[in-house]
């Protein structure tokens, strides 16, 4: 183990600077968008009093969920002592922190009063899941940072396993918290389900690993470092299991809801007659983001092919964003049941309309760009990447 050599990337090529410039442009566009929305007020967005959380929340929650999942690889190596994953622990921690930073940036900049962040940090209502999440997110930074330090500091390596355990526990609680944001909303038919929390955990596994795989393959490709099949195939298998598990949870969630009479309305809406949301659910979330990657990962014709694994990862990410869109926007668009047994003719009701404005979309994408730019910079600054993940280097240890 000890002879795995970690090395910074050179980061001097034209490609490197082009990547940084491109991502930097996206981050600037996001900051500009946030300024624009904050300067005018949210009337310039597609959000309203019915759809109070829009596109920025889709991206923010996606990134936050993926962040916790990106720590998976490190967890497997620390918690389950799988040697194969050990060399990847550092990168795993880094990707986790970067994704969380991106998600939080989007979340904070979409607040009605982002300037009052200090209030959110100092005034806590301990009954609020949201307040707990703020603590959990901040704690995640600390826990993972300490874990990374223990990995980097040779003399401290022996403690890294314990820290890995703590990080593992922390991020399970964190994602439970994120899922519970919805699980505790009694008012809305689409939410208020205990299964939200475990579903979010398994979603985090899939989305986070997809990100990790893409970053891993890209960084080894672009720096011409050897990355052999043993590692990649394992990760690919793991990804396949996670994606199938997400679909399983989605199925249980919807079947369970269909069974409860009070929720059949919203279920019909999402599954059958919800227009755009139904399309997004079936074509985007299930076919594009679930079934297709599963086939790509397991079908003999594509199995073991890296481009196909890359494609599967991209599809999982897109499918994940769509899934959160359906949950967040779809769940709000469907009207609340104010008067059971009665029809509201006027004043409230109907499916709320929403179309994301450009600044909202830019803000969301900016969060993803921030995450990637952070990884790109830091692998240049510190030795996160093993210089080789060739089969013999990775396997025999």
């Amino acid at each position: 183990m000890s002879n795995i050599r970690f090395e910074q990337i050179e980061g001097k090529s034209l490609g490197f600077y082009a990547l940084i410039a491109g991502l930097g442009g996206l981050v600037l566009a996001a900051l500009g968008s946030a300024y624009y929305m904050e300067h005018h007020g949210h009337f310039v967005t597609g959000m309203s009093n019915r759809i109070v959380w829009g596109m920025p929340h889709v991206f923010a929650l996606f990134l936050i969920v993926a962040a916790s999942g990106a720590l998976n690889v490190a967890s497997i190596s620390s918690v389950f002592n799988k040697k194969l994953y050990k060399p990847l622990s550092r990168l795993s921690g880094l990707v986790a922190l970067s994704l969380l930073a991106g998600g939080l940036m989007v979340l904070v900049l979409d607040l009605g009063r982002p300037d009052r962040l200090i209030i959110a940090m100092t005034e806590y209502n301990f009954k609020s899941i949201f307040a707990w999440n703020i603590i959990l997110y901040n704690g995640f930074f600390v826990v993972v940072a300490v874990y990374l330090w223990l990995l980097f500091e040779r003399r401290m390596n022996k403690f890294s396993r314990k820290a890995g355990l703590v990080a593992f526990g922390w991020r399970l609680i964190l994602t439970t918290g994120t899922g519970s944001i919805f699980g505790f909303l009694v008012a809305k038919q689409a939410y208020d389900a205990v299964i939200m929390a475990p579903m979010f955990i398994i979603m985090s596994f899939a989305f986070g690993l997809a990100f990790f795989i893409l970053i891993l393959m890209a960084s080894y490709q672009w720096t011409n470092r050897p990355l052999e099949d043993a590692v990649v195939n394992r990760l690919s298998n793991l990804l396949g299991v996670f994606v199938v598990a997400v679909m399983y949870f989605v199925a249980v969630y919807h079947l369970g809801n269909l069974y409860l009479a009070e929720n059949t309305g919203v279920e019909n809406f999402i599954l059958f007659d919800g227009g755009i949301y139904t399309k997004l659910f079936w074509y985007g979330q299930i076919i594009l983001g679930g079934l297709t990657p599963t086939v790509l990962i397991y079908h003999p014709a594509t199995k073991g092919n890296r481009s196909m694994l890359g494609l599967a990862s991209v599809l999982i990410i897109i499918g994940g964003l769509i899934q959160l869109y359906v949950i967040i926007i779809g769940g709000q668009a469907y009207p609340m049941e104010l008067f059971p047994g009665k029809e509201i003719l006027e004043g409230y009701g109907g499916v709320a309309q929403y179309s994301a404005s450009l600044p909202e979309i830019f803000l969301g994408i900016g969060g993803v760009a921030l995450a990637i730019i952070a990884v790109t910079f830091l692998v240049k600054l510190l030795a996160f990447l093993p210089e080789s993940l060739a089969d013999n280097a990775a396997q025999n240890k």
């Binding site: 007020g41 009954k127 949201f130 104010l338 004043g347």
Partner: protein
């Protein structure tokens, strides 16, 4: 952990949080609740309203809505569209699917005893006074809108734009959330909420639910009344009869 405050504490908190932000954008000082009345807010009272949908005419409801707008200064937003405009009180037309009976009613913040908006608010900006009135502290609200997600009555609005010509007793602000205050500034002076005052009949009764001699208490004992979404067990301060 509901933030229940008596008036003195409330003013203290308000002044503490207003150091440095003593004035709202338009120069309005935050004196909303500091009325001349020195009686502390206690949990011996529970303010409530009973709305009789059989007596309430459509014109009454329109009157209630405009009285609220006039009193609190919302509704003249220039840029906000349809669902973006604030709506502290709405006129609803509801039809019974079985009998076809149509009822009109006014829907505003129900001033829940167990308010989900207060439970979820991360910064304690949403809070319930001892006397049951649910308010938003505009200086603590960060505009996360989680309370709006949590309210089962769609009672809250987000301010989507910069505001002008605000009412002195009702500081509002872009990027924060607001809802019916039960005209707390009037109630604290012994007056009734503006919407109640605008109705000429006794279709809307306002008063202390706990006070056995109050009209609302006595009426509630004799008529069938309902809470909207009573299944959620929020024990709302606003009650309806005739639906």
């Amino acid at each position: 952990m509901n933030k229940t405050l008596n008036r003195r504490d409330f003013i203290k908190t308000m002044s503490a949080t207003t150091i440095g932000v003593a004035t709202v954008a338009s120069g309005i000082t935050l004196t909303t609740f500091a009325s001349t009345n020195k009686v502390p807010v206690t949990n011996e009272k529970r303010w409530g309203m009973l709305i009789d949908t059989n007596k309430l005419t459509e014109a009454d409801i329109d009157g209630m809505v405009s009285a609220c707008q006039k009193e609190q200064g919302w509704g003249s937003e220039l840029y906000s569209t349809g669902n973006q405009k604030p709506g502290w009180i709405k006129k609803l037309k509801v039809k019974d699917k079985a009998t076809g009976k149509v009822s009109n009613l006014a829907l505003m913040c129900q001033h829940c005893e167990e308010p989900p908006c207060v439970d979820v608010c991360p910064t304690n900006a949403s809070m319930k006074r001892e006397d049951g009135i649910v308010l938003v502290d505009k200086h603590l609200c960060i505009g996360c809108r989680y309370c709006m997600m949590a309210c089962p009555y769609d009672a809250r609005s987000f301010v989507h734009e910069t505001l002008r010509n605000q009412k002195e007793h009702m500081p509002r602000g872009k990027g924060t959330v607001e809802s019916c205050t039960m005209c707390v500034h009037k109630v604290d002076k012994g007056e009734v909420p503006a919407c109640v005052a605008s109705v000429n009949s006794d279709a809307v009764i306002f008063g202390d639910l706990y006070d056995v001699s109050s009209k609302i208490n006595q009426t509630l004992k004799t008529v069938q009344s309902a809470q909207i979404r009573a299944d959620l067990n929020l024990n709302t301060g606003i009650r309806y009869s005739g639906i």
